[in-house]
């Protein structure tokens, strides 16, 4: 079931909320976890009931691994259980996600004719696999416990984050799920949660879906082998960048909002990444829970041995930089690119971002001394950096969206046809109907929202919208500072936003981009 479906908005959500607070109301608080597990399984099984068994098996398997890791802590058995657990998770993920990809590529390389029945990708497998790998690592580090199965199952299954994140940690969810505050301040939490949910739904159904209407035909044309012009190329890059941001940040808002209606806070997933003035900053604020996972479970574990190796080899300053920063970043991001899906477009997208990051780190190191002397860059330079970051992101997004590498190249070629600048005049809305038929006005409106307005967390800042909010409270403040509070003005505004968002949702449900991963 998806958050933007009418059956979720009008049936599942109200019923699950009503039963939840009714259980608390009649003093059955201790059964809340069982209820949440059941509701989450119903939520998940609507998509494909047999795959719910895979999810359950995965949870049982990981719990057993966690149990062994904790029981035999600091022993060989514990390390073995951790290794086996991580490998088993990656094995299942690889089978469902990459088996066909590897066989297709092997056939191309070897000229063989191996076939495999097309495997259906289980919904949310990339996310719940990462959540559980993170859990095993946390148990081995002693930051998570493996005692009660019900606690573990509630933590993994909690439906708002189950399908597409944010990728949560045991230590931040279980104290909330089993704490004493569960069910308190119901009206306040529902008001805050619904407001966040409505904003997310609006982002998805109104902005992202509209942007898709302009981007998709151009990507389809590129896939059909058509040459792409300058205007079409830039339209594709800009509208898809708008789409993917509002789609995924909208989804995250909805997840955070739904969790809040149940009285729980999730970690943030976006913090105005498109206002970032560097790629490093961009990745700190884009899909933040994935970045936290990468840093904690992938980057940090490889950094120490590599640094030791660089010291052992007595590498120079820049060689050390290449070995300890640039290379790991490019490789890690290529892997993260592949995590998005079994396609070379994703690998290229990841490699591009890895290269961007390495370049950005290099630039930052070079600028360090200068900045110490001359201070931080002025507003003009920051504007230039922002433009450059957006440009780099938009270029990479073209490959992220393309169905094949050659499609992305066709669109890039179109974007670089500087000889046909006169085409750009075609973007101007000259007739009243062009306001909706052409993307310019809509794109400018979306850019204004990104550039000027507070993000959802900033808008809800008074009510602690997400976990770890103190860390982000003062980052990237908006030009127009709007903050929500329960007032008539905001009731009318949010109701209008919810009405439009639900109306757009009723036109036909569209998939979330990240749900496919």
């Amino acid at each position: 079931m998806l958050f933007n479906s009418l059956s979720f908005v009008f049936i599942f959500l109200p019923i699950s909320l009503a039963c939840y607070y009714a259980l608390i109301g009649v003093g059955l608080r201790k059964f809340i976890f069982a209820y949440l597990i059941l509701a989450s399984l119903v939520f998940y099984s609507v998509w494909n009931p047999p795959y719910t068994l895979l999810l359950i098996a995965s949870i049982i398997g990981n719990y057993c691994c966690g149990f062994l890791i904790e029981k035999y802590r600091d022993s060989r058995t514990s390390r073995l259980a951790l290794t086996l657990g991580v490998l088993a998770n990656l094995g299942v993920l690889s089978w469902y996600k990459y088996a066909n990809f590897f066989i297709d590529n092997a056939n191309t390389l070897l000229g063989s004719d191996w076939t495999l029945t097309r495997v259906i990708l289980p919904l949310g497998i990339s996310f719940y696999t990462f959540v559980q790998i993170g859990y095993l690592v946390d148990v081995s580090r002693g930051t998570a416990e493996a005692r009660r199965f019900t606690r573990y199952a509630s933590f993994v299954l909690f439906f708002p984050q189950l399908v597409a994140g944010p990728i949560v940690q045991y230590k931040e969810m279980v104290p909330q799920l089993f704490g004493r505050n569960i069910g308190r301040f119901a009206c306040g939490n529902i008001a805050v949660g619904f407001t966040i949910f409505a904003i997310g739904l609006f982002k998805k159904t109104v902005i992202a879906t509209t942007a898709d209407g302009f981007a998709a035909p151009i990507f389809q044309a590129a896939h059909a082998g058509q040459e792409i012009g300058l205007l079409a190329g830039w339209t594709a890059a800009v509208t898809y960048t708008i789409q993917v941001y509002f789609d995924f940040s909208g989804y995250s808002d909805m997840a955070i909002g739904v969790a809040r209606m149940f009285g729980l806070r999730l970690p943030p997933n976006f913090h105005s990444p498109l206002r970032a003035a560097s790629i490093i900053e961009y990745w700190r604020r884009w899909h933040m829970s994935l970045q936290r996972f990468i840093v904690s479970n992938m980057y940090q574990p490889i950094l120490l041995p590599i640094t030791r190796l660089a010291a052992k080899w007595r590498l120079g300053k820049w060689s050390t930089f290449v070995v300890t920063v640039a290379l790991p970043m490019v490789v890690l991001f290529a892997v993260i690119g592949l995590w998005h899906g079994p396609a070379w477009t994703y690998v290229l997208f990841g490699t591009m971002h890895g290269t961007y990051l390495a370049t950005n780190e290099y630039w930052r190191k070079r600028q360090q001394k200068r900045r110490r002397k001359e201070g931080q860059p002025g507003p003009r330079m920051v504007a230039v950096y922002r433009a450059l970051t957006l440009l780099a992101v938009a270029f990479a997004n073209v490959m992220f969206r393309a169905e094949a590498v050659i499609d992305g190249v066709r669109i890039w070629r179109g974007m670089l046809r500087v000889g046909s600048m006169s085409e750009l005049a075609g973007a101007l809305p000259l007739r009243p109907e062009d306001v909706v038929a052409k993307p310019l006005i809509g794109a400018l409106a979306a850019i204004a929202i990104i550039a000027l307005l507070p993000n959802t967390q900033q808008f809800m800042a008074r009510y602690g919208p997400v976990l770890h909010w103190a860390k982000w409270r003062n980052v990237a403040p908006p030009r127009i500072a709007l903050t929500w509070r329960p007032s008539l003005k905001w009731a009318l505004m949010i109701a209008a936003i919810a009405f439009v968002a639900i109306s757009f949702a009723s036109s036909g449900q569209t998939q979330f981009i990240y749900v496919n991963f």
Binding site: V436, P486, L488, A491, A495, A496
Partner: protein, 346 residues
């Protein structure tokens, strides 16, 4: 403001906005174009035939794809003419149409053409349990609100979609060019007064690759028929609860009967089974108490008369047309409705 009041104010605002949206006016012609690009695209033609074509409408055919494939207006008009009845026939069948959709189209047709003499409704093998998907796009507010079936998914979908649909239709009516719509009838694009079944856009009757008189074709339709028979599941609830199981169809059928009665239009139910299908529709007993039920089963054992198990082939057109013309000619009083031919074929 307390959060409880905040939530209440939001709820009221959403309801108020929904009510305003539902009341937004629009062009019905634009609404009948909203299925363009889908298998239901022929609805635009329905509207144009009813509203812009001056030729009279004497007989309306309603039904689903079996009616769209099996009843040819030119054939039927010619057969009626041979029997001394110059009547104009319009086939307003829509693929997959359930009773709710038949009612929507019948209402529009009789609103514009109240002098229609006969409404022929080709029945499904059994009433569908659910309404029809294009109902949400084509139904008027009255169709939706006057016929509430809250346990029917399609009715709920239509209700949920209504505010957005009305806003879209409002925008399309006022900025038709931006959305690829038109508010002006273009005679050059009009398919004609009496058009054959293949001339309309959208869904087309199937044509078997293997030919009609081959053993391969017989094998295909035999297996399809067996599958169709298995899928024709008996009622799941006892007869006393059939209003729950078949509520959408039953309610729409009753309204359709009532509508024809009010407009003094002769209502006829017709049943043509699928290949090797049942001898009469499941609801035959009740339907016979409401209007005449004409059943043609002689075609149902000949595989060459079916393009697939559910749809009559082009070879069946003359057979069904002659059979129907006989019945209509016998049913209508002598000398009734000498059709005016001002529109003519285009």
């Amino acid at each position: 403001m307390s959060t409880t009041r905040y939530l209440g104010a939001m709820l009221l605002t959403i309801l108020a906005l929904s009510a305003v949206a539902v009341l937004l006016p629009h062009s019905t012609y634009v609404r009948y174009q909203s299925l363009n690009g889908t298998m239901f695209e022929r609805t635009r033609y329905f509207y144009e035939r009813l509203h812009f074509d001056p030729a009279p409408v004497d007989i309306i055919i309603l039904g689903a794809s079996r009616a769209a494939a099996g009843i040819s207006s030119p054939h039927l008009e010619a057969d009626l003419a041979k029997r001394g009845k110059n009547l104009r026939v319009v086939n307003l069948s829509l693929p997959a149409a359930a009773m709710d959709m038949n009612l929507v189209i019948a209402r529009e047709a009789l609103r514009e053409r109240p002098d229609t003499r006969m409404m022929i409704v080709l029945l499904p093998d059994a009433f569908p349990r659910q309404g029809n998907a294009p109902f949400a796009e084509l139904a008027t507010n009255e169709d939706i609100f006057a016929n509430p079936v809250p346990w029917d998914g399609e009715w709920l979908r239509a209700l949920g979609r209504l505010p957005m649909r009305q806003m879209q239709l409002f925008a399309r009516t006022h900025l038709p060019g931006a959305f690829g719509y038109t508010t002006r009838f273009d005679p050059a694009l009009y398919p004609g007064t009496t058009v054959d079944r293949d001339a309309l856009p959208g869904w087309k009757p199937p044509v078997p690759q293997e030919g009609y008189h081959t053993a391969a074709h017989k094998a295909v339709v035999d297996s399809q028929s067996a599958l169709r028979h298995r899928l024709l599941s008996p009622p799941k609830l006892p007869p006393a609860l059939s209003w729950l199981e078949y509520g959408a169809s039953q309610a729409a059928a009753r309204k359709l009967i009532q509508l024809c009665h009010e407009k003094h239009t002769r209502l006829i139910f017709v049943y043509v089974p699928y290949y090797k299908g049942p001898q009469e529709p499941r609801e035959a007993a009740w339907l016979r108490t409401q209007a005449p039920l004409w059943v043609e089963t002689s075609v149902s054992s000949d595989p060459s008369l079916y393009a697939d198990s559910g749809h009559p082939s082009s070879l069946a057109l003359p057979v069904l047309s002659a059979w129907l013309a006989d019945r209509i000619a016998a049913d209508l009083p002598p000398g009734a409705a000498a059709g005016v031919t001002s529109g003519g074929n285009r």
